[in-house]
Amino acid sequence: MRDVSLITLILFDLDVPTTKTASALTCLTKDEVSALEPSACINCARCVEVCPERLIPKNLADAVEHNNEKAFLDMYGMECCECGCCSYICPARRQLTQLIKGMRKIQLANRKK
């Protein structure tokens, strides 16, 4: 259970075909989502310790929540590789990767214009 891939896609339906490019299928045995309700950040710095890009995921996610694009870019938010380590380790169960990913998509879309 502990050595599954961090970055997985959700199968919304059992009819989704499995192709040879899928390296693993993960089945959750219980309702993990409701067990993962986010709570307040306690500033424990675990996300900073695990981040392979030496970012501060907590501050980036805060910037996204406040819709502060400048702070996000100043703190090298675009360097994030979306590995999911910060979300995995977070004891407050914050959706750090999800928040950062969302902001990165917006930024990339703006760049293309």
Partner: protein, 316 residues
């Protein structure tokens, strides 16, 4: 597929550590020192600890109910605050003191600023300093049935001899939780072993303070004098349990060294040049207030960003 499924973003598997079990381990790590305090100062100490924990948990519960917020007493952070506050009180205080301190710590220092994670200073220390400033006579009365004299630190400041062995075991006067170095070290080792606190802040703090005392204490690098300063007062409790409080310490790796260094210097200044024998609480609270500034200047350079690029980015 008629039933609704709950869908979340990846990663779907999370680490087992949660806020409440981190807090639970902190409580467990504080128990040896608290237990020794009760053994040392008698049943009054137990009542003070219980009152302080109860008032913190209750005031958090009542405030959150009254404000229609999610009740978060389950994360045990109020228990940690209450226990730390109780351990920072002398065993001779009247029983309304821990209650008042707990209400102040939780409501004024923590909840009014947005609850867990948003408080700008350590709630337990905020509560303690409020009590020290308001009731100085009560808060510095360390005379009990067992100990009639001043605390070792006050003796040290007055130039009297102190017994290091007693200070190590904890058979001295002082606040409930600060006397026993051995019990505090035991608790700190639990937290180190579980990776809950890191080495940087406490050791930078203690080493800086030791060097400062050696330089400005007036006795040079005298082993006995420096170790008496290290073992005396709230330094060990402060360094391992309060300076490392997650919410009020810097999140950046470099910032932690700076924070520990500032705490060491401030504690040294307060203890040696100040009128009080104690200085740890003030140093940590002032350190807490500097944290946003420290964090602002120590944002780490992301992987792959050139050193010069950082300066240009700032100019732009």
């Amino acid at each position: 597929m008629s039933d609704m499924k709950r869908v979340s973003s990846n990663p779907h598997v999370r680490a087992n550590t949660t806020t409440s079990n981190i807090m639970m381990w902190v409580v467990i790590a504080l128990l040896p020192a608290a237990g020794f305090g009760i053994y040392n100062f008698g049943p009054d100490a137990l009542i003070i600890l219980l009152l302080s924990v109860a008032s913190c948990v209750l005031s958090e519960f009542i405030y959150e109910k009254a404000m229609h917020k999610r009740v978060t007493i389950g994360d045990l952070s109020a228990v940690v605050t209450g226990l730390l506050l109780g351990m920072n009180l002398p065993s001779t205080v009247p029983f309304w003191v821990p209650v008042l301190g707990g209400v102040f710590a939780i409501i004024l220092v923590k909840q009014l600023f947005g609850g867990l994670g948003q408080n700008f200073m350590n709630p337990a220390l905020g509560g303690r300093l409020f009590l020290v400033i308001s009731f100085p006579a009560l808060m510095t009365n360390f005379v009990t049935d067992t100990y009639t004299g001043a605390t070792p630190l006050a003796n040290l400041k007055a130039g009297a001899d102190v017994n290091i062995m007693d200070m190590l075991i904890g058979r001295t006067g002082g606040t409930i939780g600060e006397t026993s170095m051995l019990c505090i070290a035991l608790g700190a080792m639990i937290l180190f072993a579980l990776g809950i606190i890191d080495y940087v802040i406490p050791f930078t703090y203690i080493i800086t303070f030791a060097i400062f005392v050696g330089l400005f204490g007036g006795y040079g690098f005298n082993w006995a004098y420096i170790s008496a300063h290290l073992a005396g007062g709230g330094l060990m409790l402060g360094a391992f349990f309060m300076a490392t409080d997650y919410v009020t310490c810097p999140i950046t790796p470099k910032g932690r060294y700076i924070y520990g260094f500032i705490l060491g210097i401030l504690t040294g200044v307060f203890r040696i040049f100040g009128s009080n024998a104690e200085g740890v609480s003030y140093a940590i609270v002032i350190g807490n207030l500097l944290v946003p500034l420290i964090e602002k200047f120590t944002i780490p350079r992301a992987f792959g960003i050139k050193k010069t690029a950082k300066k240009e980015a700032k100019k732009a």
